[in-house]
């Protein structure tokens, strides 16, 4: 797994190659990065001549959570495993929606209100598969990717803890599929 230095910022980017389609080494499909995310670039990275639809999901830091006024989030990741989790999600998507090309970029570090924490792009010849695959991807990221939010709110801070990460949990995978196809 390459650890490269981004020429523009000097920050390190952990990324993985993609096994399907053409992988551009300058802009890998699956990234965990401290740099700000570019939804248009992610969408462009998955589109090709056979693409008729690109669904993009952009996750943003919002100013409230569970009744608390959120000030900022610190995102921590086990980056090499997170990239492998994204690749695993792509493999699952290829089995269900073979026409879809996928990219997932997740940001780490301190993010302010309105900052994008994740961008997912799913391209396909037709829109139905793109929408479903994109929804499936975000559900699976939340279930299995080794990434954590440390929420700083007015009056304190708390680690947000959701799902126990278990990629082999078939019930969780089916729940993600049900949401994607609802």
């Amino acid at each position: 797994m390459p650890l490269t230095s981004d020429a523009a910022t000097g920050r390190s980017v952990i990324s993985g190659a993609y096994t399907k389609g053409v992988s551009n080494p300058r802009s890998p499909r699956f990234q965990v990065t401290a740099d700000s995310l570019d939804a248009a670039a992610v969408a462009a990275s998955v589109a090709g001549p056979t693409t008729g639809a690109v669904a993009t999901f952009v996750g943003l830091v919002r100013d409230h959570n569970a009744g608390r006024r959120v000030l900022w989030l610190d995102y921590e990741a086990f980056a090499p495993l997170a990239v492998k989790a994204f690749e695993r999600i792509a493999t699952e998507i290829a089995a269900q929606w073979p026409s879809v090309d996928l990219a997932i970029h997740h940001r780490t570090g301190r993010l302010g209100i309105g900052d994008a924490s994740i961008v997912i792009g799913a391209a396909s010849p037709h829109r139905a598969e793109a929408f479903s695959a994109c929804r499936y991807a975000i559900e699976r990221v939340k279930q299995i990717a080794p990434i954590w939010k440390h929420e700083h709110f007015e009056g304190g801070q708390v680690w947000i803890e959701g799902a126990t990460a278990d990629p082999e949990d078939e019930a969780a995978r089916q729940a993600a599929m049900a949401r994607a196809c609802s």
């Binding site: 086990f78 939340k142 080794p146 990434i147 803890e161 126990t164």
Partner: protein
């Protein structure tokens, strides 16, 4: 055998370290490493049913056997996205 333990998020904060090295007996599993960790840091015990793990940057089970030089990462419940 010597193994490296990596901790993330609240586990890292509770243990006060992101990386530790432990000498474990032959035949140890990831669970052995976790139990050793909880012995040193009892506040981690609450994660016993919720923790997951990776060995050498691949998802693993607590029953996964370890060998000398392995890196075991313990992951609290995740919240990416």
């Amino acid at each position: 055998m010597l193994v490296t333990i990596r901790l993330f998020a609240r586990l890292r904060e509770l243990a006060g370290a992101s990386e530790l090295q432990h000498e474990l007996p032959e035949g140890a599993s990831a669970r052995t490493a976790w139990e050793r960790l909880v012995r040193d840091h009892p506040s981690l015990e609450e994660y016993g049913r919720a923790v997951s793990c990776a060995v050498n940057e691949e998802y693993a089970r607590l029953t996964t056997p370890l060998k000398h030089g392995d890196e075991v990462a313990f992951l609290p419940p995740v919240s990416g996205g």
